[in-house]
Symmetry: D2
Subunit: 130 residues, 4 copies
């Protein structure tokens, strides 16, 4: 289960080193997992409408080569681990066949009141929870 | 009634032209009016706790000279017009005595349900509503 | 000469009012004019490679209805005025046939040294300069 | 060698969960290390003027409790490891005596041409390189 999402680098995302500012990759990971979930049948906003958040409890990124203005970047997203309590995603960033970086995020499912919650069974297949 | 707030330009706010990306001035205006209100006795979060939003319905900015990385910028904020229904702020951006830009924002007071609302009388003096 | 570009609202672009934070529309205007220029045959990065910047000297935005998380937004971009010295763009933001806002930006063409410059004749047709 | 820098949470940094969007902590780490270096006698822009960049090759963050709008956040920064080739920073985020999160970044010193470089001896003491 992997999904590839595409984004185009915005000028707003560059910095005065002439490359993409590193924090933007963390935003791109959001794009990656949201498109992963949509492709698996669950737009993330539906999860929120159903009363659940997927809160980020950890984010990690390694930068291998700089992304540049106007690059088309592919964000490859996979589920590394998933339970009804939480989930881990892995990401690889590509410009063509050049690997620009790798990352991961860990999440807890939370209720509307921002307390730990169990993901209902109907959503398990989206993330490969068995 | 004017207030001066200070911010330090972050690397994240620069772009590959080597200057501050223009949309950041719009965020700086937020800093300006929030610090204006705090100095006048009303932290904006108290207004939200009381059930009101100050929604932005217009933002304008003119750029006169570029702000640079690590600059200390002063955001001068004033109320240009205020009624119980809405408010207009004016802003001037300074690096020392060099004027970098000017802007304005217009706002409507909204209820929690995001419908037009009247600002309660107890808050009028904050914005000079008479 | 108008162009429509599409973006998907990111969670990162929302704020605690539950809508898109207003400064992001200014970034979306960048997406709009860059895609306008690409569609007209000139990727903006080629203009920079040729030694020119299109510096923003003014940005304006009116907000009519809030954009929401995960919305597909269409950014309609047109050239309102263009000379070899500078250019004005107009923008309309749409979610389906609902108009969410309108904006404009004014730009000066600058040399690499960030001094006013004349846009070379070969690029005039991109922006409808006659 | 630790330094504490203060920032105030901006509305722009919140998201529709009603908390700070997680990628902003990565920007706050930048504020932390820049203020660390300034306190140790080296404004980062001087390092760039001297022809060096401190490129981010890794960033990690763990989120323990949400930062909220208008919070005053203290970013505690320390050097975890430093050589003339690169450096590792550790960060702790505090709201009062409540720990909100922890992070780390790894950096390589680069030349203007973005190639690996050795930090000149005159800057070693800033980062505790012995």
């Amino acid at each position: 289960m992997t999904h590839r999402a595409k984004i185009r680098v915005r000028y707003a995302e560059t910095d005065q080193m002439g490359v993409v500012y590193h924090a933007n990759y963390v935003i791109w990971m959001e794009v990656g997992r949201v498109e992963f979930a949509r492709a698996a049948g669950l737009p993330y906003k539906e999860l929120e409408s159903a009363g659940f958040f997927m809160a980020v409890i950890e984010a990690n990124c390694r930068y291998l080569a700089p992304a540049l203005y106007d690059d088309e970047i592919e964000i490859e997203t996979r589920v590394d681990k998933a339970t009804p309590r939480g989930i881990e995603f892995g990401y690889t960033f590509w410009r063509g066949d050049k690997k620009l970086g790798e990352g991961s995020t860990r999440h807890l499912f939370l209720s509307k009141e921002l307390r730990p919650a169990r993901l209902p069974a109907e959503y398990h297949s989206v993330f490969g929870i068995t």
